[in-house]
Assembly symmetry: C2
Homo-oligomer: 121 residues x 2
């Protein structure tokens, strides 16, 4: 079951774009476990709508998380476990990163195809 691209409600909603650069050929220093935990924890938050995350062999990654409103983004930012993960990310895991908070104004997507695995929709 694939949810990529994420299935989202009609706009408006909010997105947090998070590009990050991991060291090329970095050992697994706890990063993968943290990333999986943050993904699962985000999905439990009130106002969470979905996420998409990709990292390539160069260590370039983009994660986009989607939220009902800015209050939901602020609450997630204040989550204590997430605060600690960001602190370790800055000091240990990422060479470089950016965070961009935006309001999604409009969206288009592929029409569902009968041959595609779209789950129970």
């Amino acid at each position: 079951m694939s949810d990529f691209p994420a299935h989202l409600p009609e706009p408006p909603y909010y997105a947090v774009i998070f590009p990050s650069q991991r060291p090329d050929g970095a050992p697994d220093d706890g990063y993968e476990a943290m990333a999986a935990r943050m993904s699962a924890l985000a999905a439990e938050q009130d106002g969470y709508l979905g996420q998409e995350s990709v990292r390539d062999a160069r260590g370039h990654g983009i994660t986009v998380s989607y939220w009902r409103d800015e209050a939901a983004i602020r609450a997630w930012k204040a989550n204590a476990e997430h605060v600690e993960a960001r602190r370790r990310g800055r000091s240990e895991w990422y060479l470089d990163w950016a965070i961009r908070v935006c309001r999604v104004e409009r969206a288009y997507a592929t029409e569902p195809r009968p041959d595609a695995d779209r789950g129970a929709i």
Copy 2:
């Protein structure tokens, strides 16, 4: 010289989030050449600010392009070569995709570090 994450002006500006799913293990059917051409062509457009693009081994990709305003996004959408690339993308290259147009309200980034390759800044 790395420009990942992209170096961008202060918000507000606009972002186009484009997640796409390529077939797993797809042959190179002209897709790579088209993607490189579209990236270069976008960078020539008035109002273009930057882009970030990542694709992983599963065929999941996220490209985010950044623009001065919505008029610049509309002009790029109407570019004839880009129209043709989107048509081929829908019919040949992508299993699934979405486009999300958003207004970036605020942004944060890593402080430049003396040991990082940030180019001539």
